[in-house]
């Protein structure tokens, strides 16, 4: 059948998904249309509430996003930073290391 992808354990049908998505969208729009019509764009209604003061119009910069995540996983990231030195010698060293590990795995693998 067209539009159904068999994935071994189950199936995935984007067309059915799209149909379901459209139905849900229609329901959402239906519910939305029953709402109040007093909404005005560009008035105080849309402004953010900032304790009665003027809300600052700033942009959260990329460096500040996920701050808590980096604090929690700090040790892991320090380890990663130590790994990614950016020195070409370490790049070649990683390659040699993988070759040695693979060689050990392939030659010793039969014995285990």
């Amino acid at each position: 059948m067209t539009g159904v992808l068999m994935t071994g354990a189950g199936f995935w049908s984007p067309l059915v998904w799209l149909a379901a998505f459209l139905i849900v969208l229609a329901i959402v729009l239906l519910i939305r249309s029953t709402g109040r019509k007093k909404f005005r764009h560009g008035t105080d209604q849309t402004a953010a509430f900032f304790s009665g003061n003027e809300a600052p119009k700033t942009h959260v910069k990329a460096g500040n996003i996920y701050w808590g995540f980096f604090v929690t996983t700090g040790r892991y990231y320090r380890w990663l930073q130590r790994m990614h030195t950016g020195i070409i010698n370490d790049y070649v060293y990683g390659f040699v290391l993988i070759m040695v590990i693979l060689l050990a795995a392939v030659t010793m693998g039969g014995l285990l």
Binding site: H84, G86, N89, V92, Y93, V96
Partner: protein
């Protein structure tokens, strides 16, 4: 004595790669890569050697078995490629020296 070239090949390749891993001077890293390439070229030439064979050149050839010219062709090709690669790497080192003022591989700006 037949294994002598192969031992030399191994030594050359190891030398080249250890230079690429251990040396911090980028010119020396390029030299290491070139040494490994020469080691592999030596391997190809040594593989093409046959006891009692003559070189595959028709002109004034003695009446004896000729060796297959494939390894020689491979070696020539790989020498040409090695030349191009070495020239490229050296010109990058020149450019980096112009910008960073050093040929030390630890002086890098890309990391992490």
């Amino acid at each position: 004595m037949m294994d002598l070239p192969f031992i030399a090949v191994m030594i050359l390749i190891m030398l080249g790669i250890s230079a690429a891993v251990l040396k911090r001077n980028m010119i020396k890293i390029v030299m290491g890569v070139s040494i490994s390439a020469s080691g592999i070229n030596l391997l190809l030439v040594a593989l093409g050697y046959r006891e009692g064979g003559v070189a595959p050149i028709f002109t004034n050839a003695p009446a004896a078995q000729m060796v297959l010219p494939t390894p020689q062709a491979l070696t020539l090709t790989s020498i040409v490629i090695d030349l191009a690669v070495t020239a490229m790497m050296l010109s990058f080192v020149i450019l980096m020296y112009k910008h960073y003022g050093s040929t030390d591989s630890r002086k890098r700006r890309l990391s992490g």
